[in-house]
């Protein structure tokens, strides 16, 4: 009974709303950073993913790009990442640094427009050229770094790693555009692989914070009396091995040492899931713990399989297995952040239901279909198409479940 009475309590994650700016007439969808982004990101992911699926299975042709594969990878990495960072930072920073004024209203709208311009300039790159796309996309990331400066300037340096990683990503993105514009001689695909490593590092660093909030919120909600601590050393080990793997892959893509590094990266990412094993309570049966740990499992599987492919001298399979990291871990990380923020920061309790199970399950299925293509070569075309469609479905479900929340004021009446 006691548990029931505690339900209407103010959520843990509301302290920072005390510093909400008093701008007048802010529509609900601009009331907090994540709202417009998720409203745009879900349909964008659905449409672009299905389009890419048609392209890869040969159903559709896009004549307006001369280097489809490279641009596909670019957009799936940087286009989506900037949206993800924007949502994460605008929601997370006010929480990590009390007193930080949230980005809302007109200012938020302008930033979102900048992101949209980046997408438009990307899809019309053959018309507008590389420089325009480079300008808008780099401006977006540059703005985000500027926005995150308190994290880097913080005396205690608690979250500075996020800032430094973003600066590294900015440099890599600039390098990529330079290569595409012919200013640098590096193979753009190599730069993108390096970029993926840096993105995964950023995701691991961000996920550590998301995990702490989500899992503790969940345990408080369910009356589980224990504390979840995501220990930095485990994440740091994973960051180190992934960083090493990415750099060595960039320099010596087929070296056998890289194979061992891939296996090491896989093991170190899997090691992070040890945090979920608490001292007193068992939480591995909680749906959100399972969802979140699946992100690590998929990323780990990706690195380990890539390592195995290299040691087995089957380099051609590496890019298939990489989809465990991209479609799998990366995609699921975005989905989880969208779901968790979608519940908690619209003033609701972190809830799991048939929809959340379905969303996570479909991502995992789509990843397995895409990543295991080397074992089912004869069905490759079907698997390309089906996996991209199945991957897109969770974001359709997301729109159905969460768009109502994102368009309406917070359920608990707090501003934001």
């Amino acid at each position: 009974m006691k548990h029931e009475e505690e339900k209407p309590q103010i959520l843990h994650a509301t302290n920072h709303y005390l510093y909400y700016p008093d701008e007048e007439g802010v529509p609900s969808y601009l009331a907090y950073g994540f709202r417009p982004i998720f409203l745009l990101l879900a349909p964008y992911l659905v449409i672009s993913m299905i389009l890419w699926g048609f392209v890869w299975s040969g159903v559709l042709n896009i004549p307006f790009m001369d280097n489809i594969l490279i641009w596909h990878v670019y957009e799936m990495l940087f286009g989506i990442l900037t949206a993800g960072i924007l949502a994460f930072l605008t929601t997370g920073l006010p929480e990590l640094f009390p007193g930080f004024v949230p980005l809302i209203g007109k200012k938020l709208r302008n930033v979102v427009i900048l992101w949209v311009l980046g997408r438009v300039s990307f899809w019309f790159i053959d018309v507008t050229g590389v420089y325009v796309a480079a300008f808008f996309n780099l401006a977006m990331l540059g703005y985000l770094i500027w926005f995150a400066r308190p994290a880097v300037l913080d005396k205690l340096q608690r979250h500075a790693s996020l800032g430094y990683t973003m600066v590294a990503i900015f440099i890599i993105e600039a390098w990529f555009f330079a290569a595409m514009a012919g200013l640098a001689q590096t193979d753009p695909m190599d730069i993108l692989k390096l970029a993926l490593g840096s993105h995964i590092i950023l995701i691991l660093l961000a996920l550590r914070r998301v995990n702490m909030e989500a899992v503790n919120e969940l345990m408080e909600d369910k009356g589980i009396d224990d504390v979840y601590v995501s220990r930095p050393p485990l994440t740091n080990l994973a960051v180190f091995t992934i960083g090493l793997f990415s750099i060595v892959e960039f320099l010596y893509p087929a070296n056998s040492a890289l194979g061992w590094l891939g296996l090491a990266a896989g093991a170190s990412v899997l090691a992070i899931t040890n945090d979920y094993i608490l001292k007193d309570k068992f939480i591995l049966n909680q749906p959100y713990v399972i969802y979140l740990s699946l992100i690590y499992v998929l990323i780990a599987a990706g690195y380990a399989l890539m390592g195995w492919a290299i040691l087995d001298n089957k380099i051609e399979n590496v890019s298939h297995f990489r989809h465990f990291i991209t479609s799998g871990g990366y995609g699921l990380a975005y989905l989880m952040v969208m779901i968790i923020i979608g519940w908690i920061h619209t003033g609701r309790h972190l809830t799991s239901n048939i929809y959340t199970h379905l969303m996570v399950g479909l991502i995992v299925i789509a990843t397995l279909m895409r990543g295991l293509i080397p074992f089912f070569e004869q069905h490759a075309q079907t698997l390309y198409l089906l996996s991209s469609i199945i991957w897109a479905v969770p974001f359709i479900i997301y729109a159905k479940v969460f768009f109502g929340f994102l368009m309406a004021p917070r359920a608990d009446g707090i501003k934001g």
Binding site: T241, A257, L261, L263, A271
Partner: protein, 260 residues
């Protein structure tokens, strides 16, 4: 019984906590691979080649026979040290004079390099099982002896008094008061003694016998067969790590909790 169940219950999470260690071992193997690329196959065979040789070796009956010989010697030597070391150590711990007297002797035993023991043992016993077993005993006995001695020396006098004033029957007094405390000291000493025994047995075999994996290592050295030499090293390390970290460490952790 409850104790065994708790170890079994914690075992999966213990095993899962090893991923970090696996990662750092794999990083080390990557470094080994780099070493192979820099110095060539003769100096340092690649890890992959070593593991392939290893698999071949483990399917070879002759190699299995060598491993069995070594296992026999190590377990004989370790078994003697375990029984002798624990018994004498526990006994010495009960008497202040005996423990005072035995310490310098243990210091001498520990301080004497095993290689010197091997030379002496070769003179005394010739080239055979006895030399190896003797060397293993002198190397691991002091470790176990000191552990057992500390176990009885550090027994809490107040606990003893309490047990007496409650008039515990002797079996309760032993199993619930003395045993857990003593065991929490003796068991870790066994673990380190075993590690020592396993290392010494190879060294003694390499110098003093014509069979066992230590001797195979000597043969591999004389034939410049680095893949085989490394495979033997991998067998040694892997078996020790398996026994120590998969079997004994979970028990040791549980046992050490009893100290406080």
């Amino acid at each position: 019984m409850k104790f065994a169940l708790k170890i079994l219950k914690d075992f999966p999470s213990y095993l899962w906590s090893g991923w970090g260690a696996v990662a750092s071992i794999l990083l080390f193997i990557a470094l080994w691979d780099v070493g192979n690329q820099v110095y060539g196959d003769l100096v340092l065979p690649s890890p992959l080649e070593t593991f392939k040789t290893l698999v071949l070796m483990l399917h070879d009956d002759a190699v299995i026979a060598e491993i069995e010989t070594t296992l026999y010697r190590a377990s004989m030597g370790f078994g003697f040290s375990l029984i002798l070391g624990s018994a004498l150590g526990l006994l010495a711990g009960f008497f202040a004079t005996a423990s005072m007297m035995s310490r310098p002797i243990v210091t001498i035993l520990v301080g004497m390099p095993p290689i010197a023991w091997i030379v002496l043992a070769m003179i005394w016993f010739g080239m055979g099982d006895e030399t190896v077993i003797f060397t293993v005993i002198v190397a691991s006995f002091p470790i176990i002896f000191v552990g057992a001695l500390q176990g009885t020396r550090t027994l809490d006098g107040e606990l003893k008094e309490m047990a007496e004033s409650f008039n515990f029957p002797w079996h309760m007094r032993f199993f619930d008061v003395y045993f857990p405390h003593i065991f929490s000291y003796v068991f870790p000493a066994w673990v380190s003694g075993l590690g020592m025994a396993w290392k010494i047995v190879i060294m003694a075999e390499l110098l003093a016998t014509s069979n066992g994996i230590g001797a195979s290592l000597a043969v591999a050295r004389s034939q410049l067969d680095t893949p085989t030499a490394l495979s033997i090293v991998v067998i040694m390390i892997a078996s020790l790590m398996f026994i120590e970290y998969i079997i004994l460490e979970p028990i040791k952790r549980e046992v050490e909790l009893w100290r406080d």
